[in-house]
Symmetry: D2
Subunit: 348 residues, 4 copies
């Protein structure tokens, strides 16, 4: 059995890790930390785990994290980079669900997250944990910066269009990602704007002038394309709990009009266990992946014009966070990639 | 024009007062206070008021409240009783939407609200602002303790059964009020349990062992009945914004089985502008009173047995709080009771 | 592997059976019928099953149901009783999720369901599929009438109080079940009153004068108590997808005031795999059992009075329907009772 | 008093007309028709109108529509064009909320609505009822084709950029309208995909390959710009009742980079009573216009690049339908444009 620790388990990605890992056939949950809730049984905070998860939150100082095989950080930005070095030195693999190891450029990191980066050497070593792009590197990695929820869906949606092998298909300077997220994406923080009485029966954009996921998306797409891309990113808040729907717009380049984009996507993702390219004409629903690690994608070219409209749905807490974390863990440890991740979506 | 001040206008009952009062033909909004948001235009916090309410929040110290005709307190418990005496001395009428002037027994108040009552003499003078019960007293009052949202619906639902004039119809020792409230009833406070991601697609009871509205309901029903009553009160949280649905259970006394309860209710409320007794067999919906001051009631006697099931719907922010406040203000000032309160419910 | 057929798989209990059975380690899905959708791949209607359920709906006439080990009926009332005899004759075990085999009194059945009962002999043989009450009989049964969603929660909530072994604890003539259900309980039928624009941000009671689950509840409680009981049942519609919350009221009999009701419940359910008695003072949430077969119960005695308030939550599509069906199937086939039913609830 | 008739009043735009017109100081509701519900009091279907609207639905054949001053058609496409001629001949002004008089090109109409157009001459005469564009023509019109809900928000959002007077500011060939609508936009029809259990906690696009509002938007923008425009339109379904949020993307032309777009919008809409240009940096919420005739717009230029992102919110049933109908009626009759339309949005 693999011993797993979770640092900062009181938030939504923490409880989702608990849900997935406690049902994973090869995992033993060794410790879950919370400075604030130390001593409280996990199942007191999350009654859904009653009778199934016997752990209590423990103080980070008391957690035997260094004897774990893998430690997940489900913490605010800045925590993982303060603790990763010691764990890595003890031979522990580290997977950070926050942003500490996503942006390769420390200046970018410091600009968007308003804190200095404390370990640029580890950042250089860290692998960006998007299996559909970096599977081999993930297998060999000690330290993972797990993608953000929006970046996962946008990158998977545009990937087949941007890879050099596909040819010069689209204009990489006018990409648009109009994204919509359920409220769990904002985390389990007491804030007014995500109260049910504020956010339900309501819809709005936010972060239009600049959202932290923008540089991550641009970095990721640039790495895929092998050249710089420009993208506008508009996130919106949807009155639902889970789910991200990304509506992506890309202009077809003059010479690429004859491409069979449906076939391109189907071919690219034929062997991916968690990416489902839907039949032409489909409009995927977020609930079709609710509580599962699947991503579903549909490719549209309205009226046969020069604009592609790509629709992508994921569960922001699973493929957008904790499920992807488990997928990455499986890869790092040489386990079957889908182990513990095959539960069907919950619909309705 | 009547000059009106609002103390503590940043919460939901505050903004609802603003919505109603700014459309009231006889009211001039003179001041709205918020220590924390002093200086901020009201319409910055509530864009729904843009172009229509020009006021800014002001510091309580700077508000010319003593020159108002009426001051509403839409504040936490304990604020109104600290400021009422001075305002009353200046000839201002005071309407408290919190609990300071609801419970006549200061010991009860102190037990349920965990603070001493600072002005028992004013409490003795204060009138409980439920027009359907206390209309005449309200007309002459200087100081009003406005009923809570649950208590309004429960009292209006049981009133016709309990008034001595109706005879000895029901067992007053086994009353049950199973009540369901939208989340706005919890106020505009940053709390985890009322986040959309926690409270939507979910249902639960709370305060089962004792809720602050219980002593208020029991006091009110006892006053109506002229004798003590016993009632069990179970509040529940509904994943919706506005609305209270009270399901009330009362046992018919052996001798009262022939009563025409439908007729009793219709007769009792025939002249009430804000209470609608629906036809026999109806099941009122909360949305049928959304954003309006109406209460709708249906009277059921399943299978002709000895149990009455009374269904009551109200908008907790209107008839359950701010709308009732305006209704009471109209009465205190000799205005037509329905002035500014005739807007139709918003459906769907 | 056990061969399982589903008759009428297009509704919510049908798709929930698919979700559970396709993940059940001992089950092979052999056929799913739908006269209307014959030929359509199941995953076209329910994209959540894409890549995991390869079946298409087939015409009932073409389904090799008689070669199945078990057939579930997820059909409207009246279908199962027309087809059960032939299947039973072929040695197939039959589990009906509708009402054909619930009410033992055919006159009652005909009164509430407005159709004659076509096979009273089978009705007499049929076992009421509530494992916590009838486990041994279920093990030996060929034909199961599965409990309704409300009746499951009400019976599990009152069971420990009513069993003769517990003594004469409560007044069995004044029971009240105030129940609240998510909208999936109304099924996947195109109807105006369950549209999102009608049912969301709204709350109402329905069926107050008489709901079909009332005679089933009364029959079940009477069987448990060994004597007639009287109960008032008020169902309500909650703006959420899944979940039932039953708030149950029972009067403690004069001599029973010293009973430790918390201990009574804990003892009674100590060995039940799907019933969780929560700690004293708890208020269970429907989401704590979302998408799982668990029921959670809390026992309250407000202010130490003579009224018990029992709170019960279940997922109406799982323990209230399809999950209970799988639990019953496991029992009938001698499999471990929890097989295929151990997935954790999805929260948030 | 103005006598008003409504044809087809059982849908959401019908009941919204009733809500607005019954509170309009100059209107007398003369008749409301519904073949199917003839004889039923309007308030039986819509309890929100109890005590306030005494009308019953009447059969179209019995309605004295020709003696009305104005008749609204809140009917399916195709009804208004069959009845308009007779009403116009009787001197009645006609406002159609459906699509019969929107598309000027009958071939376009027939292609998108799959029915022949029965009165091209009236179509030629009909005025497109968007006051911010056609105010003078509306004042003189006998027959109005009222804009669709999406087209209203998209046209108001792009109008200042496209009017020739503004200069050649944006690329008119690459416009994108990514729009999100509440479910009431689908009407009060019994359909599976808009059930609460299907559409809540869910998000999806629809009509991506072609939606009926696309030709209307393109026609309207082309008329505003005085030249053809090209636009991609992606509608999405939001799990809320009311509200449309349009996120509009427009590329700034090379020579127009110095334009002060915020000032352009503020200037253009300075005198419009129902269009509110919010301060720079704002992200308007749909609830900020809930149940009101207001539109709120925010203008963004992320990172000072060459892409404008315009955010527009409206209530699809008010400014997107019935409220705009009343606004147009006021103009046609020479009444103050805002009469009966000044109610504040309902928030929360």
């Amino acid at each position: 059995m693999i011993k797993v620790g979770i640092v900062g388990g009181t938030g939504y990605t923490g409880v989702e890790l608990l849900r997935l890992l406690s049902q994973h056939p090869e995992v033993e949950l060794a410790a879950i930390t919370s400075r604030k809730e130390a001593g409280m049984p996990v199942a007191d905070m999350y009654p859904s785990l009653r009778g199934r998860v016997a752990l209590s939150f423990c103080d980070p100082a008391d957690a035997a994290l260094s004897s774990c095989d893998v430690v997940f950080f489900a913490t605010p930005h800045g925590v993982a980079m303060a603790q990763a070095r010691e764990l890595l030195a003890a031979g522990v693999r580290v997977i950070d669900l926050a942003a500490d190891f996503r942006l390769k450029d420390t200046a970018e990191f410091e600009r968007w997250y308003a804190m200095p980066h404390s370990c640029p050497d580890l950042l250089a070593e860290a692998v960006y944990g998007l299996p559909e792009v970096n599977r081999d590197a993930i297998r060999k990695a000690r330290l993972i910066g797990l993608p953000g929820c929006y970046p996962t869906s946008v990158q998977l949606g545009l990937l087949p269009l941007l890879e050099p092998v596909a040819g010069d298909l689209i204009d990489v300077d006018t990409l648009i990602a109009d994204c919509k997220s359920g409220v769990s994406g904002a985390g389990r923080k007491a804030e007014v704007h995500t109260l049910l009485a504020e956010a339900s029966d309501n819809f709005k954009a936010y972060g239009v002038s600049g959202h932290r996921h923008l540089p991550e998306i641009v970095q990721g797409l640039g790495a895929i394309a092998g050249r710089p891309v420009r993208l506008a990113f508009t996130p919106h808040l949807v009155p639902m709990i889970r789910g991200i729907h990304s509506t992506l717009y890309a202009r077809i380049r003059p010479g690429a009009g004859d491409t069979d984009f449906q076939a391109l996507y189907e071919r690219r993702y034929a062997d991916e266990p968690f990416v489902d390219v839907m039949p032409a004409g489909s409009t995927p629903e977020t609930r079709s992946v609710r509580a599962s690690n699947m991503v579903r994608i549909a490719v549209h070219r309205p009226q046969g014009g020069d604009l592609l409209v790509i629709l992508v749905v994921e569960d922001n807490l699973v493929k957008g966070a904790s499920g992807q974390g488990v997928q990455v863990m499986n890869l790092m440890l040489g386990l079957p990639e889908t182990l513990g991740l095959t539960q069907l979506p919950v619909l309705p």
